[in-house]
């Protein structure tokens, strides 16, 4: 089928899935044992304050009514409820914290794709040699080690033993953040000409981004390597060799495209998983991002914030998956036909 139809199908599916997810998270959040009003106001709050808060949060209405109200609030006013901890609107909190995490994840995704593909190609070129064995060991280590372990190793090595990269937070104290356009310091710094803040933010992000990216990078490298190695003995490669193309041309242009297809699907999943790993990492370095906010919300049972954060993550994840699916469908027309058959 054509690409526009495919896109529409995928979008429709994504909307359905996100609605289902919102219902799931809403139910889970409301099922929490414990009274959210009590937890917000503290143990010595008088009864009428609790009642007021409950009315305000619509807790006295039946669950489907609460869900309907929440959903209509979101679509008409963009209002996701009030956070019980920060006492601000949840969407304000999210707008403030999300760009930080987004920045880190985008940087990590660039590392993942770039270094993953590069390592994969190198590994395929030097296959079955000693360097290949080293590559394979590095790849295994990359996949098996959790991101937080990498982060701790990096902090020890590059933060303390050889103090190259700064460790805590987004900017060194004393460097003020650039005026807020997107909320991502690197981008804002570049856009407003404040290069010092940009560079400083970048330095702070290097360690966590690489720690995040290593797992997916190794996986991508392995898949690209096996894709290239599979195709290396095929007829068309021999043909190109006969034509006299240089090895690097064959690798970079022709073999890479074929092996990119399965790699991109996996990379899409890995990039989405970066958000999940960011959850764990942000706590270690005190990074004021969405994951830190979400973790605090979860641990303090801040209902609206939990639902808001999870929905934002779900939407991001779904968008990444859709983009990846569209790219793969563009690269490999068979996917579009197969999707049509199985539906």
């Amino acid at each position: 089928m054509s690409i526009p139809k495919f896109i529409i199908k995928r979008l429709g599916l994504a909307v359905f899935v996100l609605l289902g997810l919102s219902i799931l998270i809403f139910l889970i959040a409301r099922v929490i044992p414990g009274d959210p009003a009590r937890m917000a106001l503290g143990p010595r709050a008088p009864e009428y304050a609790l009642e007021n808060l409950r009315k305000e949060m619509n807790l006295d209405k039946p669950i489907y009514m609460q869900y309907y109200l929440w959903l209509s609030d979101f679509f008409t006013k963009g209002y996701l409820g009030k956070s019980l901890i920060t006492r601000r609107h949840v969407e304000q909190d999210i707008i403030e914290f999300f760009p930080a995490t987004l920045e880190m994840v985008i940087l990590a995704a660039i590392f993942l794709a770039g270094m993953g593909i590069g390592l994969g190609i190198l590994s395929a070129q030097y296959r079955n040699s000693f360097t290949d064995a080293i590559f394979r060991v590095i790849a295994y280590l990359g996949i098996a080690t959790p991101s937080f372990v990498w982060l701790i190793i990096f902090i020890l090595l590059f933060g303390y033993s050889m103090p190259i990269f700064p460790v805590l937070g987004r900017l060194t104290p004393g460097v003020s953040p650039p005026p807020r356009i997107t909320g991502m310091y690197i981008l804002d710094g570049l856009l407003t000409g404040n290069l010092r803040a940009s560079w400083d933010a970048f330095l702070h992000l290097v360690l966590p981004s690489i720690a995040l990216a290593l797992g997916g990078m190794s996986q991508a490298a392995r898949i690209i390597r096996s894709g290239i190695v599979d195709n290396i003995n095929k007829d068309y490669t021999t043909l190109y060799k006969a034509y006299g193309f240089t090895a690097s041309l064959i690798f970079m242009k022709y073999l890479l495209k074929t092996s990119l297809i399965p790699a991109i699907s996996i990379m899409g999943l890995d990039i989405a998983a970066l958000f999940a790993n960011a959850f764990v990492i942000e706590k270690v370095i005190n990074f004021p991002g969405l994951s830190n906010y979400g973790m605090n919300a979860i641990l303090n049972k801040d209902l609206n914030a939990i639902v808001g954060t999870i929905m934002v993550l779900g939407i991001t994840f779904a968008s990444v998956t859709i983009i990846i699916d569209i790219i793969v469908a563009y690269l490999d027309p068979r996917i579009r036909l197969i999707t049509k058959e199985s539906s």
Binding site: I28, V31, T145, P146, F148, I152, Y160, S161, V284, I298
Partner: protein
């Protein structure tokens, strides 16, 4: 006649198994993985008997020996409360392995059956089941597991439930994909013509063909479940102290970096080794099971 068939079937199965063992034993990494996995399992089971300081896994404080570097007495050093880290790490293996076994024992049967049903009874059933699994896949498994684990009380069992909820769609999808491609094969049609009932077809014809990828995925998944478990306990949602858990030990130790580095580093190394060995094992199974085309 029947006895003849059975002997043939058994001898063919033995032959396949022997071939699998032979191919597995040729790959050094797989052997390393298998040996390490067996070692970890033995360590976990016999932890109280093997470990030098079994009391340190329970509530225990010894301020005079706190924060000692690795030495002859304390292989991995002691933590800030004077407990031997080596002993606690071995005890922490138990939690990790228990969770992996528990999660897989629940997720694999349920996910596989859902996938089988969705794949065989196509149409409305398939759509509904697969869309439901898509909803659970809409979030990265770690995030969903964290959300659920945080909502329930932090215990090993609740962690298991949290990971199960986010993990089952993978097996459902895997099985569904295989079943829907086997559904139109000749052997299934032959069974249908003979008049075999649906359950026979699903469980005796289609399912045995699906088992190899499922087993491979199981072996690899142990590593991932342990990773998620370690991440959950790292953020504080795992078993509460004083029960030792790998992620919790890394988190507690991270506050003392870089001076008392051994409190974090050794449990972290053990986490990596654990996941690595299951990965080697799983890769070895996958490589030895794969049918080579002549």
């Amino acid at each position: 006649m029947k006895n003849e068939n059975r002997t043939q079937i058994i001898s063919r199965a033995c032959e396949n198994f022997r071939r699998f063992i032979y191919r597995f034993s040729r790959d050094p990494l797989s052997i390393v993985g298998l040996v390490l996995v067996i070692l970890f399992i033995i360590l976990a089971i016999f932890a109280p008997l093997i470990v030098p300081y079994p009391k340190h896994a329970e509530p225990f404080v010894d301020w005079s020996n706190a924060s000692l570097p690795p030495s002859k007495d304390h292989l991995f050093g002691t933590d800030n409360m004077g407990r031997d880290i080596f002993s606690r790490t071995i005890f922490a293996l138990r939690g990790a392995l228990k969770m992996a076994i528990g999660v897989l024992a629940i997720v694999v049967p349920i996910g596989t059956i859902i996938g089988l049903v969705a794949g065989y009874y196509a149409g409305a059933v398939e759509m509904v089941l697969m869309r439901i699994s898509d909803i659970f896949l809409a979030l990265p498994s770690l995030v969903l597991a964290m959300a659920i684990a945080a909502i329930l009380r932090p215990t090993l069992f609740n962690n298991m439930i949290a990971v199960c909820v986010s993990w089952w769609p993978w097996y459902a999808r895997l099985t569904y994909g295989m079943v829907s491609s086997y559904r139109n094969e000749t052997f299934v049609q032959a069974a249908q013509i003979i008049g075999a009932n649906r359950w026979h077809i699903i469980f005796k014809e289609i399912l045995p063909n699906c088992l190899s990828p499922i087993f491979t995925k199981m072996a690899l998944d142990v590593g991932w479940v342990i990773l998620i478990g370690a991440s959950l306990s790292f953020v504080g949602l795992g078993e509460q102290p004083p029960t030792p858990a790998l992620g919790t030990m890394v988190a507690e130790g991270s506050r003392y970096l870089p001076d008392f580095w051994w409190i974090s580093v050794f449990p972290a190394i053990v986490i990596v080794l654990l996941i690595l060995s299951f990965n080697f094992l799983g890769d070895g199974i996958r490589d030895s099971l794969s049918l080579e085309e002549v």
